[in-house]
């Protein structure tokens, strides 16, 4: 340090401490403002984040958010599958017990009134779903179409179920009916 610098420091009121350790001296400069601000800012941010995320929101927030996302993925995947529904997929569903069981439940609630719990439709408005006769085609996708959109014969009483049941439940019902074929 030269004399000019010492002068400079005196003018700026910067203190050189009396300590000396093996020739090392220390200034006692004020803490830079931007540094102090960043220190305080991170502390304030942390307090706010903690209060909002930990104390106001759910402690299981991340897990629940993920579960919601995964449920959406599941739904979207199904949507994709249903969009490319073909006979093979429906036939495969008819061999999967979770699909046929779900289909049976839907069938019991909505279809037995016309088609009967044995699917034969005896003495009921509906046609038999277990005989060899198919009015509008026997392919699984054709059956799906009838359930979804109703019978072309508007007098038959078979209405469109798509809006009521949605594609998944219809596919389940079709799987159930397919599983009941001889």
């Amino acid at each position: 340090m030269d004399e000019k610098e010492r002068e400079d420091l005196r003018n700026k009121n910067i203190k050189l401490l009396d300590h000396e350790y093996d020739g090392i001296r220390e200034f006692d400069q004020k803490l830079p403002n931007w540094w102090l601000i960043s220190l305080y800012a991170t502390i304030v941010f942390s307090v706010i984040y903690w209060v909002v995320r930990h104390q106001w929101m759910d402690g299981e927030f991340d897990f629940k958010k993920l579960e919601t996302e995964l449920a959406m993925v599941e739904e979207a995947r199904l949507e994709e599958t249903l969009q490319m529904l073909d006979d093979d997929i429906l036939m495969a569903f008819s061999r999967a017990s979770d699909w046929t069981e779900a289909g049976a439940a839907t069938f019991t609630q909505n279809c037995v009134a016309c088609h009967g719990s044995d699917l034969k439709g005896e003495n009921l408005p509906g046609v038999s779903l277990v005989d060899a006769e198919w009015l509008y085609g026997n392919k699984p996708t054709e059956m799906y179409g009838i359930v979804a959109n109703g019978s072309p014969d508007l007098t038959s009483g078979m209405v469109a179920w798509e809006g009521l049941l949605g594609p998944k439940k219809i596919a389940e019902v079709v799987a159930y009916i397919l599983s009941k074929q001889e």
Binding site: L17, F27, P32, S38, L39, H54, D62, A76, E80
Partner: protein, 775 residues
């Protein structure tokens, strides 16, 4: 001669020894680093030599075994010895006293080198505890603790016989280092031996994960940062011959750094199954760590202000200026990576590797180089052999670091983005094949290896330069005359603890803890308490701040009280995070699932997995992220690793996650994969493990292992040895038979059988409630 004057001869001989051995170990640590970096690109040199028509498997030459050797050598051998040289040199001068005991100094030196040699032998042999930077086996752990105690006694004894009244800031950092590393090392190495060479850690699953990263993160803090900051506070003002920029900043950044650092460990476990409150603490304390870290950088860089002309001419100043700049960069990057959403991209990727190396190559390595170039001419009383060569070292090292860091940024971000990328509907992966993402960063990995080689060459040049300087030099003694035992303002212990700053600090920690962790009334009490304490402290300080300064001045004259306060500061964070997780009812740590116990054969397989260092490339933790779940399966629950001593959540995915590997592929796929990964996974960089098909399972070790696990509350039944052996034989026969049906011949008593059994068990769990409580 004045009655009060005494003549003191510094013990510089031991410093010279530590300095020379630092240079030697730097070469070893970096050479192994370069080797493992190239292995990632060339499987032909990983686990053997498969070049030029050669086909020689060598089990000790595999990435999983050598990567721990690289990290341990770089941390404990290179930086460790550099730290001891710097601490011993500067402390003697800062307190005007010779090192208290020559015997302890020599025991410390030789003991530490023996530990390193033992590590260099055991790690390639596959003897490991399986926890990162804590791999060394238990007999070596005990030796490390003993040597650390020798170091501590020698150091604190020197402080007690000092001939200055107060302690300089460098000494504060050394004290923090010694106290905290002891605490971290002991807790994270608590184990129960099963044999002379093997032990199981006492913690398992999430507890082990927390303890490990409390240790791992703070090994970076208190082994690679605080001692080097202390060294900076001595050697930088010396090298530029300038006063330190700000004493006030030293005080504030020292105490905030040592207090806050400890809490940040859980940022290594973000988005995992770790309870959320711990993840938040890890992230927030990392953010709050930014300013305290930069306080150190400012004090270093601003001390150089006014001496920038030396930057052009003096390689020492160049190294110091660059090192401190890298310190600032790494400590900005750290908080950034700790933000949960950034971490979702960067965790398990090469970005983390780059981040670590901007700290180790940039900060540690360059501080070491600067210190060595400054010390060598002074310790041997000879000018450095070649300034030009030292300058060249600086530039080639700098290019090496930049290549290293830049390539790891690109690699980490590229692979992270690819691994997390989903198709438009968000239901499937954009890059379903893991190897596609790995092979897209091959060039970056190669660039890293080249960068590392440049850096290594720099240290080779330094070695030559140091050798040429010291060879034939006549060693001279450094003797000084000091005033013996100056008046020290002793302070009674009570006054050390009962005074305004301590009381405010204590309440200022106590009330926010109530606020953070309490409910209802306790939370409100904490909130209002915090506000009142902060206001009171500010008012009180404005009124009587000078008294606080006086007290601190007195504290600096009382090294033992100072040390106790440091210990309390560093102990709080760990205690609040770890103790509840270890002691509170374990059921809360299960998340509805409990791991199925490993059979004896599977347990043997797990120990082989650990021994081969598979955790260096494979995680067992599917994070709470959509892309992780789609890629690897249902996200991991805490209960699914509750019996894992040690946990294997991993830290880097050079290969895919294995948490749900069990039952996913047939046995013969695993057999083919272990014999030569590329037959079933084209493009893989995993080494082949043909020796596993030859080496026998150490069945005799199993009863002792199972008995230790039972002691650790893993609910194994009281099997007799015969039952264990029969169980192993039966399960192994089954796997061998299955392989035989597929046309593979494998003896049932080989290690590969055990490893396949373990692979097939990964991810097996029961719903909690179906199993009896283990408490």
């Amino acid at each position: 001669m004045n009655q009060n004057k005494v003549s003191i001869e510094y013990n510089d001989t031991v410093v010279r020894y530590f300095l020379v051995i630092t240079v030697v170990w730097s070469l070893v640590g970096m050479l192994v680093g370069v080797l493992v970096a190239f292995m990632l690109n060339f499987w032909q040199i990983d686990g053997g030599l498969y070049l030029f028509g050669l086909n020689i498997p060598m089990e000790w030459l595999s990435f999983g075994r050598l990567r721990p050797l690289h990290t341990n050598a770089a941390i404990f051998a290179f930086v460790g010895n550099m730290m001891f040289a710097g601490v011993y040199y500067s402390t003697q001068r800062l307190v005007r006293a010779r090192l208290a005991s020559d015997i302890l100094s020599w025991v410390h030196f030789w003991g530490w080198q023996l530990i390193i040699v033992a590590a260099a032998v055991t790690l390639p042999l596959g003897l490991t505890r399986g926890k990162e930077y804590a791999e060394l086996i238990w007999p070596i752990n005990i030796a490390v603790v003993l040597m650390w105690v020798v170091f501590a006694v020698n150091f604190f004894w020197t402080l007690l016989i000092r001939n200055v009244s107060t302690l300089y800031v460098a000494i504060w950092f050394y004290i923090a280092t010694i106290v905290t590393v002891a605490m971290l090392y002991i807790v994270n190495h608590l184990s129960i031996p099963t044999s002379f060479l093997h032990s199981y850690p006492v913690f398992a699953g999430v507890q082990d994960a927390l303890v490990q990263w409390w240790y791992g993160h703070n090994a970076v803090a208190f082994f690679l940062t605080t001692p080097i900051l202390g060294i900076m506070y001595y050697f930088v003002p010396k090298a530029v011959n300038r006063p330190v920029y700000s004493y006030r900043l030293s005080v504030i950044h020292f105490w905030s750094l040592v207090f806050i650092y400890i809490w940040a460990g859980p940022h290594h476990l973000l988005n995992t199954a770790l309870p959320q409150w711990l993840q938040y603490l890890g992230m927030l304390f990392s953010l709050m760590l930014w300013a305290p870290s930069w306080g150190g950088m400012l004090n270093g860089l601003f001390t150089m202000r006014g001496a920038w002309d030396k930057l052009r001419t003096d390689p020492v100043v160049k190294f110091f200026a660059a090192a401190i700049t890298f310190y600032g960069m790494a400590t900005f990057e750290g908080p950034l990576l700790s933000i949960k959403s950034v971490n979702a991209l960067a965790h398990y990727s090469d970005w983390i590797i780059g981040h670590v190396h901007s700290g180790t190559l940039g900060w540690n390595g360059f501080m070491a180089a600067g210190m060595i170039y400054w010390l060598v001419p002074r310790l041997w009383k000879r000018p450095l052999h070649s300034q030009a060569l030292a300058n060249f070292h600086f530039w080639i090292g700098m290019i090496g670091i930049l290549l290293y860091i830049a390539s790891m940024w690109f690699a980490g971000i590229t692979q992270g983005v690819m691994l997390n990328a989903l198709n438009e509907s968000g239901t499937s992966l954009a890059y379903a094949n893991f190897l596609e993402t790995l092979n897209s960063i091959r060039f970056m990995m190669l660039t890293r290896a080249v960068g590392g080689t440049f850096y290594f060459i720099g240290f080779v040049l330094m070695t030559y330069n140091v050798f040429k300087t010291i060879v034939g030099a006549e060693v001279q003694k450094t003797t000084i005359e000091v005033e013996a035992k100056p008046e020290k303002e002793t302070m009674p212990w009570v006054k050390g603890f009962i005074n305004a700053p301590i009381i405010y600090s204590t309440l200022g920690i106590f009330f926010p803890c109530l606020w953070m962790l309490g409910d209802g009334f306790v939370m409100l009490l904490g909130m209002f308490g915090t506000i009142i304490v902060v206001l009171l402290a500010i008012i009180h300080f404005k009124a009587t701040g000078a008294k606080w300064n006086d007290w601190y001045e007195k504290l600096l004259a009382n090294s033992m009280i100072f040390t106790v306060l440091v210990f309390v500061s560093v102990a709080i964070g760990g205690a609040i995070q770890i103790i509840p997780t270890v002691t509170v009812n374990k059921a809360e740590n299960l998340q509805g699932r409990i791991q199925k116990l490993y059979t004896p054969l599977e347990l043997a397989g797990r120990d082989i997995y650990i021994s081969e260092g598979c955790y260096n490339c494979h995680s067992q933790m599917i994070r709470t992220m959509r892309s992780d779940v789609i890629r690897y399966g249902d996200y991991s629950r805490l209960g699914e690793s509750i019996y894992d001593h040690p946990f294997q959540w991993g830290s880097r995915r050079t290969g895919p996650d294995l948490a749900r590997e069990g039952g996913y592929r047939p046995n013969d796929w695993h057999y083919d994969h272990f014999m030569d990964p590329r037959t079933v996974s084209p493009g893989s960089n995993m080494p082949a493990y043909p020796w596993l098909a030859k080496k026998k399972i150490d069945v005799d070790a199993l009863p002792s292992k199972i008995s230790v696990l039972r002691t650790l509350n893993v609910p194994y039944p009281e099997w007799t040895d015969e039952e264990i052996f029969d169980s192993v034989a039966e399960q192994a026969e089954g796997i061998a038979k299955d392989l035989q049906e597929k046309g593979r011949v494998l003896q049932p008593n080989t290690q590969m059988t055990a490893l396949i059994a373990y692979m097939q068990k990964l991810g097996a769990y029961e719903i909690r409630g179906d199993v009896a409580s283990t408490e």
